[in-house]
Amino acid sequence: MSAPANQNKIIKWVDDRLPIFTLMQHSAIEYPTPRNLNYWWNFGSLAGFMLVVMILSGIFLAMSYTAHVDYAFDSVERIMRDVNYGWLLRYLHMNGASMFFLTVLIHIFRGMYYGSFKAPREVLWWLGILLYLAMMATAFMGYVLPWGQMSFWGATVITNLFSAIPVVGSSIVTWLWGGFSVGNPTLNRFFAFHYLLPFVIFAIMFLHVWALHTVKSNNPLGIDVKGPQDTIPFHPYYTIKDLYGIGLFLMVYLFFVFYYPNLFGEPDNYIPANPMVTPPHIVPEWYFLPFYAILRAVPNKLLGVVMMFSAIIVLFFLPWLDTSRVRSARFRPIYKQFFWIFLADCIVLGVVGANPPEGIYVLMGQIATFWYFFHFLVLLPVLGKVEKTRPLPDSISTPVIKKSMEKA
């Protein structure tokens, strides 16, 4: 444990008592990172960046928001119209939720493609799934806060899922609502949880990074780091690469914020909540659509709810469901194709979720739901046993050095 190179006396005094500078030196500067990470590895830091953006914009929004059924909608409009740059804060937060999910989803699919969930990174993967779950809970409750039509009816539909639980279901729903329908107590507790959960997410993210720094990053080749020639220090190489990624990403994000701020939203949410009028189609935000499609693919309510939750729980078992010893899809020609089919399947589920459950969408939803579980429960276990993988390179540095020699 070497102390930071900067031997300032005060820093040293603090560091001897609480080695916070040593910690930073080790995990943000020296942290040995595989030298061959591609740009898909930027999405982890982008997700962390988005969490900070969401917490900061959210805290300032909370200062002007009123969690009461009679005032919530108007307080949001007051933020939009009368709070200085309130429209910017709200649009950053609103579109930030979509961007946060986008980065996290790409991050998850990257992990699936390159086998980042496999030993020894199972706990790292679990913490990631927990983050995803906590994010979904936070996003759902946040969407209720503006108290528009979709807020109210989305909350009604989702909380009603718990009524599918046999015997105690309806009592649980009453308990969740704090009344006999979604109302003021519901809104208040959702606000409280929506403020709390991001800090829980922050804590899990800390554990996620801790686990990462213990087992170290995977890489596009999916092979282990063999020695110092395979790694480079995180700073300056990946700090600058992440900054470049943040620059590119911010342009996309802010393009939506400034020019299409309501693209990801539902027009119905600009109508104040009205318990007497049900919107023709109740649609969740886009990042919930695949799960919504799975929920509706099964004609039985309880079974639908079980399937929907299973769709996430199955991810926890992925490290053992995928029996292949080779991590990266680069060396798994068949898995690679099924990965893209799986991604397409998730997008199909999303399209089905966005449309009313009629006609062709019912069958599409059922086939896509079947494929989702088939991929995890049958395909991956079997594929790992029978697939003929391509030979792995000896080390990370060999192909990297070879490539740069060819270039020269």
Binding site: L88, I106, I240, L250, Y259, A354
Partner: protein
């Protein structure tokens, strides 16, 4: 370079998939196709035309406001930058045309007084029940956010205003209802609100049906998105700044990574 290209293509594909997934676009193709109009506030440099907003306000004041409230707006908003550009004096006069209930005064009594710029737009009815009673049971919606609250936004409202046509021969229209091509269910309680010459524009513009519809939609778009001009202006600066910053980051990245390649 190939890898970066692949990355960008993949990112674009994902973005496209996401856009295709967004519920608004998925549900936009319900109902009849809207005739898209070109609006002055579209695009990077888009903003409002103060003259059109002033005309639109005149239509609201003389026609719509008989039934429709605009409850989220204050009279003072009419002189805000990026809006219709009335002067503070004009706004005072406009507000003073309406009476609002205030109080209690020192004696404990409620009283009415002329509205001030700091007041919300006065509502045409005391409450929803009064509005329904006066309108054959239909509730005229508040218009503050109508543009943002409908699929298709300004195009929907424009098509609705222009959508009063002869009903198909077989269709039974309920008493007091009108046939409309874009309204869900094709029966609407609102009588045709815009027609040629329904207002006489203060600026001398000819009040054709299209002109009136366009002006009121412009005004309502401003009412729903009063921040739009500030948003577009700031957006250009921010994206321009980010573009340069990102190029610098990229150059730095190339420079630093030279040591390992």
């Amino acid at each position: 370079m190939r890898r970066i290209t692949v990355t960008i293509v993949a990112a674009a594909a994902l973005a496209a998939a996401t856009l295709g997934l967004s519920p608004s676009s998925a549900s936009a193709h319900e109902g009849p196709a809207l005739e898209k109009q070109s609006w002055s506030w579209q695009g990077f440099f888009g903003g409002y035309d103060p003259a059109a907003l002033k005309r639109g306000f005149q239509v609201y004041r003389e026609v719509c406001s008989n039934c429709h409230s605009l409850r989220l707006l204050y009279y003072r908003n009419l002189s805000d930058p990026g809006g219709p550009g009335f002067s503070v004096e004009e706004v005072k006069k406009i507000a003073a045309e309406k009476e609002v209930r205030d109080g209690p005064n020192d004696a404990g009594d409620m009283f009415t007084r002329f509205a001030r710029p700091s007041d919300h737009f006065a509502k045409p009815f005391a409450n929803d029940n009064a509005a329904r009673t006066a309108n054959n049971g239909a509730l005229p919606p508040d218009l503050s956010l109508i543009i943002k609250a409908r699929n298709g936004g300004p195009d929907y409202v424009y098509n609705l205003l222009m959508g009063y046509k002869e009903a198909p021969p077989k269709m039974v229209i309920n008493p007091g209802m009108q046939y409309n091509t874009v309204f869900p269910g094709n029966q609407i309680g609102m009588p045709p609100p815009v027609s040629e010459g329904i207002v006489t524009y203060a600026d001398g513009t000819k009040a054709t049906q299209e002109q009136v519809a366009k002006d009121i939609v412009s005004f309502l778009n401003w009412a729903a998105e009063p921040e739009l001009v500030a948003r577009h202006t700031l957006g250009l600066k921010v994206l321009g700044f980010l573009f340069v910053l990102t190029i610098l980051f990229y150059a730095l990245k190339i420079q630093i990574w030279k040591r390992v390649h």
